[in-house]
Symmetry: D2
Subunit: 431 residues, 4 copies
Amino acid sequence: MNTFEQHESEVRGYCRSFPAVFSSAKGAWMTDTEGRRYLDFFCGAGVLNYGHNPDRIKQALLGYLMRDGITHTLDMYSEAKQRFIERFHEVILQPRGLNYKFQFPGPTGTNAVEAALKLARKVTGREQVVGFTNAFHGMTLGALAVTGNGFKRAGAGVPLSHSASVPFDGYLGADTDTLDYFEALLKDGGSGMDTPAAVIVETVQAEGGVNVARVEWLQRLRRLTAEHGIVLIVDDIQVGCGRTGRFFSFEEAGIVPDIVTLSKSLSGYGLPLALVLIKPELDQWAPGEHNGTFRGHCPAFVTATAALQFWQNDALAQSVQKKALQVEQRLQDMARRLTPDARVRGRGLIWGIEFSDPALAGRVSQACFERGLIIETAGIDDQVLKLLPSLTISEQELAHGLDVIEDALRATLGLPVATAHAAEPALAQAA
Amino acid sequence: MNTFEQHESEVRGYCRSFPAVFSSAKGAWMTDTEGRRYLDFFCGAGVLNYGHNPDRIKQALLGYLMRDGITHTLDMYSEAKQRFIERFHEVILQPRGLNYKFQFPGPTGTNAVEAALKLARKVTGREQVVGFTNAFHGMTLGALAVTGNGFKRAGAGVPLSHSASVPFDGYLGADTDTLDYFEALLKDGGSGMDTPAAVIVETVQAEGGVNVARVEWLQRLRRLTAEHGIVLIVDDIQVGCGRTGRFFSFEEAGIVPDIVTLSKSLSGYGLPLALVLIKPELDQWAPGEHNGTFRGHCPAFVTATAALQFWQNDALAQSVQKKALQVEQRLQDMARRLTPDARVRGRGLIWGIEFSDPALAGRVSQACFERGLIIETAGIDDQVLKLLPSLTISEQELAHGLDVIEDALRATLGLPVATAHAAEPALAQAA
Amino acid sequence: MNTFEQHESEVRGYCRSFPAVFSSAKGAWMTDTEGRRYLDFFCGAGVLNYGHNPDRIKQALLGYLMRDGITHTLDMYSEAKQRFIERFHEVILQPRGLNYKFQFPGPTGTNAVEAALKLARKVTGREQVVGFTNAFHGMTLGALAVTGNGFKRAGAGVPLSHSASVPFDGYLGADTDTLDYFEALLKDGGSGMDTPAAVIVETVQAEGGVNVARVEWLQRLRRLTAEHGIVLIVDDIQVGCGRTGRFFSFEEAGIVPDIVTLSKSLSGYGLPLALVLIKPELDQWAPGEHNGTFRGHCPAFVTATAALQFWQNDALAQSVQKKALQVEQRLQDMARRLTPDARVRGRGLIWGIEFSDPALAGRVSQACFERGLIIETAGIDDQVLKLLPSLTISEQELAHGLDVIEDALRATLGLPVATAHAAEPALAQAA
Amino acid sequence: MNTFEQHESEVRGYCRSFPAVFSSAKGAWMTDTEGRRYLDFFCGAGVLNYGHNPDRIKQALLGYLMRDGITHTLDMYSEAKQRFIERFHEVILQPRGLNYKFQFPGPTGTNAVEAALKLARKVTGREQVVGFTNAFHGMTLGALAVTGNGFKRAGAGVPLSHSASVPFDGYLGADTDTLDYFEALLKDGGSGMDTPAAVIVETVQAEGGVNVARVEWLQRLRRLTAEHGIVLIVDDIQVGCGRTGRFFSFEEAGIVPDIVTLSKSLSGYGLPLALVLIKPELDQWAPGEHNGTFRGHCPAFVTATAALQFWQNDALAQSVQKKALQVEQRLQDMARRLTPDARVRGRGLIWGIEFSDPALAGRVSQACFERGLIIETAGIDDQVLKLLPSLTISEQELAHGLDVIEDALRATLGLPVATAHAAEPALAQAA
């Protein structure tokens, strides 16, 4: 670790919470250079929905590399990109009745968000975009302007412009539909909020503290934006690719966004890839108007194509729903018994426990790490313990992780820790 | 190609100039799905300085993947990152007497530029940054604000702020030292140009038309910025990693930038990776103040480490110098004979021919493609034919590519085309 | 009028509603070049609180001009300015227990607002300022950024930045305290609203449609801004100088703003003058940091000093309260009888009737003009008929004007018009 | 003065250089409360081109006030405005073959500049405007963005956007035509300078240090802006209304700007008034799109109309030319003898001496004040002694003022001071 402390910038973050040097990983497990194993309830912030190094994707990748498949093509045509587009259309879009054009921006989430915002501005001729309180969309200046976190915003070093923030679902308590406020602003020519080009929304705010938008709220947002000619962008970078159960997180609400951004778990193997899905009538880009060197990164197309196998039938979605229930029940039960004023919320396999003492989440995360479980906090004060296990985790592994959380919570609260849990040896096999 | 025309966004660009579907690649050669081979004088816009899929890097990558080395770690510590940092320090920084901290932003050039600009603003407490005419630094809003291209700037959809553009070396003709102007603005409290946080510069403007800054100009820029407490950022994304002969493009000038951005050829294999090198005293980031999901993309660390082998001795640098001479002489000779008013310029293995008729470069590029050579244009009017062969190309391949250019130029000008060139069969073997 | 149509810019506005060429004026009455007289319920948008050309101010002005008192001094010291400062301190500030420094910016409201915003930004080191829905603060870029009207905002021709708009009192209906929302944003580091340097508020939004903030709301706003170290600016340009009864409109709420802007009726005679009152501890201006040529316009200091006579005792304030009651009762009565769903609101001598049919207000204003009464509309859709009679109007004149409004409303609604009203000849005398 | 020190904001400026309390003024002379008289070579920063309280204007003003001419009309039609428009058209525009629409913004220079910039942006649909190094256009955010002074710019408290600064004539020395640089940027789509909506220029930069643009430079600027469809705004606020000899400062160059801003000496009596002259085809304002309370300030229309008498024949213009020669010769002579490396420059009756020691100008100004002469400094370092006598000053008064300057300069340099000058008693009569 000396290397890092000496040479890596102070900007490094997660390594401070999880001070191990990781070496290999498989399925739900990570191993450090000293051979210690950690169950992963973080999944690289949602990048590893299919677990670490899943074999069926790995084989496709190795095969491509071994035959000297072309690695880098900018936005020239490649066989790998062609296969990905065709399969994604066939496996994901067509069965859902969706029709989108594909834009591959630079291979990170923030690049996808920047592209989406540019396009919405071009298509509408307006400049303002609206994001929500506690949203997270990225760190480059365009995306940061619709990100809520004040600490990260201040990092811009310049004022963030051409954007406004309105309250997310539930922000003002259960009794207030926050879209009443947004609608009032939109309808009133004197509101001081210039009509926006776009609204960008996460259906579940992951970084923002596992805030879950209700289906009715999303539906009303879709109606409102349609009525006012505003481009609706769903940023599905963290909670798309099956995180909430179905491939897209907005499917449950039955809405069709104008633009969708995907990244993180899209390549299925941790390789950088990003995708902007655009309604055909909005695809008003001029050739080369937005670019980025690594927008044609073929190994990621190969793994992303292989990952689509997970979506050829309903098995994964059903398994997620089952495990979601397992997590929800266990967390509710745990909260009821140990921290009755904590709030448990989530969808699919993203769950959060918000404790009344904001400092508790961080201490529990630390206690989990000591017990071999990687789990992060979220929310502006890191007040939410965030569960983000892989979708392919076994029920047994999941149960083990939940046991660890309970142990860690008990220990942190100074309560006696349970002695008998699901046996760990079995878990080792699962990897 | 139907797939792309039907489903891919209109934003796609290079594929319109080079309408082939590429399948595999090796060394200096690319092969399309119909088995046609193309000599690559473009190298994915500078990503493939070591050629396509170089074997010594490929073996390292395959080994890592096969042993289930961890793929994705955000900015947690990993063995792969540790080895990269240590080797880069040992092979690149130490021998050059350089001392920089390492920041790994999102793995694209524009993310690195955004990080560098943010940090310069934080450190100085100023907001304005200065770029140069015809600069190219990226497509996200922060980087785009210091990019010169008006078409790409307009794509922002919002006015680009907190930046100013001053003339690059040679912009006002050979008789004017453009830094006289910049210095006048800096010294004059009434100039209307707020003192900048940073100046960002490419030593050779690649996208901007292969504009080469003189060594003396770079040295004066370093002095000027130092005198005024301005952070000097060298964006070495396209012309670093050996493109101009030495590892960093600024070595020839003997200057030490405050911040250096690297990406493109850094991973050596086309995998996305970016690096911001920061003078230790400027490393004033707070933990997590800037982040990005794929900033810990281990396969790229593995290939980047393997690529450092090329820099353990002087062989590559010397070979580049030799080939640079070969290119320069051939281009000068070709220009003298065929287009006497064309201007030839370059350094290392980046060269440009600017024709007096701006449309000529595009037509020659097209004629090259028909003859199996991939070569791009650059400059605001695509008026410059840009040669960007891999550094590892053989002299024979290089000669062949230059022959093709001459043939294409002759054909475009309506002149008879030479019949006898270096034999192509030999080249086939080289791949 | 040919002169105007031929030579004056299309930007001219009020003249389109009131197409007469005015020549002279006295008290509550204006006379056009054809000798037609109009009762003035508009008062030059609040500039003429003491009526047209009030004699006691006029004499002071004539005396000054006749003795060649200096007219223009920039911000050099002048006898006229000295007397104004001393008298304003003595008559207005001291009796109210207020202690403010005086800044004289350029002599218009928008210049005062720009100065106030600059100073708040300087003092706090923050850039964002917050205004309210339907606020009006001026047309220069800084003031326009906190003005709600979308049509006027679009006139900027650039996006308006460094500002945000939050809902004014009553914006979301009587049941919602809009400061709940603002407080939530302020407390939440993830709200996406950067902590503002200042909040700028009108206690009664005049242009915005005669929206009256409740005393409790103003008090809470004062507490909230104090708690968060935010500069509270009360823009009293239109409803200060006695419009709501007391000299400052915020007196009723018992709050002390950090900065107060005054203009319009400050000079008491229609001469341009503006004043920024600043808490001493916030007076962190450097000499000359903000300037403006006409900031030392002595005739206006002379009339403004003379106007302070109105405030040496309580008579004017009491008379306003009495007339306020007269207006309120008459409007409520009129609305109850003729347009039961109209909303009547106001304070002091600023009153509005908001009809359910937004077009009605404009038609009534037009019918009033035809009947010799000048009365304007307000609100984003001109949906509010706005009464702004002079404070010195007689009860008889006031009654006459209210009669005209009722006649005009009846005529517009197609109802029979009353025949007997207070006799007009008597009014002629009053002038 | 205690009053000011105790109650007036620290922002006050000129009073610190000229610490007298002024009471009355006439012609070229000001008198303080202690009866001391000062010859005025400053003229309220160019507001008093016709001297203090000129009788023929004064009579018109008194007559209007005494007959209760209407004072304030917003932008309703008034007799006073009508007469001004008609006379200005007849006396100024028609004889010069000019055809402009009249816009009356808020009555200060900065309001006029804001209106002009807004309109140029609206007409062109572009956002960027270009100003020149050391320009001064006002203190509100829009005008400040094209003002060069870094200290005043910093006062904005926000970054100034949508503007760029290019070098004024002579900025890079006599050998460089600075428009070569501007033209290069305009022609080059990659220059990083977005095509501007407008260029705003002062023909003589008064605040900026009496920098005089050459006629050829202005002509080329007019051609360049016309070629690129850029609105050319001449800001004639300080050097229009005869300051350079003819009514408009640009007449000598024979150019026709698209928009002209006037204020300062427009009313001729120190009353606030501003005017934007707009080519008819650019008058694309919507009614009320830009407004401002005091845009119909009738006393100023009355004095401005009376001031036009000065322009009914050539007498004033000729007298200015004669006095210009007197000033130039005396200053050149004085410089040659006393400070050979000082630079003397000017046009009409605006002149500057730039000393090689920047601190000298301030010390000379101070010594002048002690000798009863008001004279200011200009330039970013206050390095220029600026002469701005009234146009109606007598040659004898002018000679006296120049004598005082020479005495003050000699005293400051430690040289013996001349004893015999033009007698002062005669001057007393002139007032």
